[in-house]
Symmetry: C2
DNA sequence: TATATCAATTGACATGAGTCAAAGCGCTTT
DNA sequence: AAAGCGCTTTGACTCATGTCAATTGATATA
């Protein structure tokens, strides 16, 4: 464990700075200390889809080290100034050999991610854009406060929820017009949390309005 | 290892018979010996999306046993008469404690699945229906033979590729009209593998025809 | 041979979300 | 304060896919 710590490196990235690209060889994984990382896939036509937004305190790319010839299936860039700790996969794998408990913990973590991805697929194929956006905002909202900040640019949220920025804007407008929430700049205020929750899972069927 | 084998159970399912439902408690996992299993998510409106088709020789649901309170995130029914081996998660977990190698193997397996799911999300959000269908057929085609059978009903393939049966039918029709493939009943013949591969990744942009 | 059943196909039509293009707004820079 | 530059919003229009409904086909049951 000390070996890992000793050989771990700190990395600082400025806003928008890339850490690695889709297809690069993966020999290290990362822990976000401060800021956010954006993990995304690129389509041949240049379109991009944000797969995950990793906040401080979370790791990413550690699942790759068990593959034959590990390559990043996504690209990664910093959102805002970001600090990371980078760990060598080989060092870490050596530790895993000595600790079944750590293995199990990792297994648990990966199970969790697997389930999240299944939910995402469910969302994409079974739910409307409005629904996904509503669910995303809800997931970002603090438990017991209706005012909070979206510390992430809207076009990134749009990509994360798989809608175009224009569509995202229209969905927000529609939620506003139903007095479900308010958004000014990056400040969000939930006016009717319940209605938002309904929109998030009833979904398809647009809520009756006016 | 013998303990697991001794306590494993054989299960036989008739075509269409369910093994478990989405939300059921997960205490066992499964290996398909013969036939196929369909894993799917249900939307509140009754719509279903096939998440995975598990063929003989593969396991499923083993990733769940590492979660706190494991519940199946999908439902499972047999496609065609199917035989399974059912293993108790607790028994298996006990073995894992004794074998780091087995842990690592599982980790590898889960990494692989994680990557597949990311590909799926990529497909859903960045590629057209035609593209997904083309890719699916290609993935099912044997390496060096252009004639083969789809041993799975078309509406299931449709759901797997996230299109409606009607749309699936139209996509096939269009591929036929371009002399890329032929489908009669469950028999497929690839006429132009290259063109199909192109359709699978160029994707969005429909191939110029006649 | 009829008949019920379920899957697959086809046509006509509806619609959610994307595209394109033009403002508008909020920054920082000069 | 003016100018410049991204991001966001708006409007008008298009298009891929879904929906609904009817028909055909294929297989099993009587």
């Amino acid at each position: 464990m000390e070996r890992v710590a000793r050989r771990a490196k700190a990395v600082s990235l400025a806003d928008g700075e890339p850490l690695f690209q889709q297809g690069d060889k993966a020999t290290r994984f990362y822990l976000v200390v401060k800021g956010h990382m954006k993990l995304f896939r690129l389509a041949p036509d240049g379109n991009e889809k944000v797969i995950e937004l990793v906040d401080a305190g979370h790791t990413f790319a550690e699942a790759l080290m068990f593959l034959e010839q590990p390559r990043f299936p996504v690209g990664a860039v910093a959102l805002g100034d970001t600090e990371l700790i980078s760990v060598d996969a080989g060092d870490f794998a050596a530790i895993l050999r000595d600790s079944v408990d750590l293995c199990l913990a990792l297994l648990g973590d990966m199970s969790f991610r697997l389930r999240s991805l299944i939910r995402e697929i469910d969302d994409l194929s079974l739910h409307s854009a409005t629904c996904r956006v509503a669910a995303f905002i809800l997931a970002r909202a603090p438990e017991h406060r209706d005012d909070f900040e979206l510390d992430i640019p809207k076009h990134v949220i749009a990509s994360r929820t798989s809608v175009k920025p224009e569509t995202f804007s229209r969905i927000i407008k529609s939620l506003k017009s139903k007095n479900i929430l308010e958004i000014r700049g990056s400040k969000v205020r939930l006016l009717d949390r319940q209605a938002l929750e309904d929109a998030a899972d009833v979904c398809g069927l647009p809520v009756e309005a006016t």
